[in-house]
């Protein structure tokens, strides 16, 4: 076919050579999806990292003056949210690197290593983001509904802004996760195994 190129050398005979289709529309689609995934993961990281809410509660009253104590909700209080921020940060760095590689990577020759590294790194980062998102979602569900069996009270009725911001970050991370899954699936299906006859190493 005219728009396929053999990128790996092959041993002699009818063996299997990976072939990558050099379809331009596919490349632009992957680029766009990665751009949106980058925006989604960056916004999830930033929104969760600056998530903070302070409430002042009246603890006691001496005479006429109420004694107030301030209670803060920050993302560092829960290890799940810390993992969420780290995972989304790493995934957004990965997306940025992949975007840069797709833009200026044509000048460098990695001897085909690029076609191995990109799906592998994509898969690892998808696993990372899925772990971070699901941990944060379930901790958020616990914060919103509480758990009567373990006597854990819900905290979202008092810290509603904190919970809403956290929920928004989780939604952004889920969107980024879905987009990254689509990108990974497309870059996997771009690899095709073809039985090749007597291809020698390209000059």
């Amino acid at each position: 076919m005219a728009d396929e190129k053999v990128v790996e050398g092959a041993e002699n005979g009818a063996c299997q050579t990976p072939v990558v289709s050099a379809n331009k529309a596919n490349d632009w689609l992957i680029f766009l999806l990665r751009l949106f995934a980058f925006f989604a993961t960056v916004s999830a990281t930033v929104v969760m990292a600056i998530n903070k809410q302070t409430l002042t509660v009246v603890v006691a009253t001496i005479g006429r003056t109420p004694i107030q104590a301030s209670v803060t909700a920050k993302f560092q209080h829960t290890p799940a949210f810390i993992f969420f921020v780290i995972a989304n940060g790493l995934a957004s760095i990965h997306n940025l690197l992949m975007l840069i590689v797709e833009l200026i990577g044509h000048k460098f020759d990695f001897k085909g290593l690029r076609y191995l590294l990109i799906p592998i790194l994509d898969m690892l980062n998808v696993a990372l983001v899925s772990g971070g998102t699901s941990a944060a979602v379930f901790i958020g569900e616990l914060a919103r509904n509480g758990n009567s069996h373990a006597k854990w009270n819900k905290i979202c009725d008092k810290f509603s802004t904190y919970c809403n911001h956290g929920g928004g970050a989780m939604i952004a991370s889920s969107i980024g996760l879905v987009l990254m899954i689509i990108v990974t699936v497309i870059s996997i299906t771009k690899l095709r195994i073809q039985k090749s006859q007597n291809y020698s190493r390209l000059p």
């Binding site: 990976p18 696993a127 758990n147 996997i188 690899l191």
Partner: protein, 160 residues
């Protein structure tokens, strides 16, 4: 695909099948009761939606592995198998991550939110949950290795 390439994947899938089925069974059988001020309360996997999610995901992963184990490996199905392996790895990974988060709250509590740890009152339940988490972790690691090995088979890199 030659037999020598298929055997490691088969063994890894067997390991993943055993691990995910073990995880589901151990979580379902986790039970303990504690007496606090003349009130008994039972700790069960149905108490938390996270644990229910754990059992469902591990059951699905075990069923999927069972089906794929006895599937003839044709070249045309390979890409579809890669994609579905990726999805199952994702699900296993998300379940282990969410349950580690909830288990950490159960074991150490969260002083900022006013959540007390419960593992002192129901230690048998906590140990069962920890064992199920380890099994799930092994299953997700096995699936990750299956994914990477499948990619390695597809990309037939020439030796330098």
């Amino acid at each position: 695909m030659t037999l020598a390439k298929r055997v490691p994947i088969f063994l890894l899938r067997l390991l993943a099948l055993g691990a995910s089925v073990t995880a589901a069974v151990v979580m379902v059988s986790a039970r303990d009761s504690a007496q606090v001020l003349n009130v008994t309360f039972e700790a069960n996997y149905t108490n938390s939606p996270t644990f229910k999610y754990f059992v469902i995901i591990n059951a699905v992963a075990g069923g999927y592995t069972l089906i794929v184990l006895f599937c003839p490996s044709k070249v045309s199905l390979f890409r579809f198998l890669l994609v579905s392996d990726l999805i199952v790895t994702l699900l296993l990974d998300s379940s282990v991550s969410a349950n580690i988060a909830i288990g950490q709250v159960g074991k150490h509590g969260n002083s900022h939110a006013g959540w007390l740890p419960i593992c002192n009152q129901v230690p048998k339940f906590c140990n069962h949950v920890a064992g199920a988490l380890i099994a799930n972790f092994v299953a997700s690691l096995a699936y990750l290795v299956i994914l990477l090995y499948s990619l390695h088979i597809v990309l037939n890199l020439p030796k330098p």
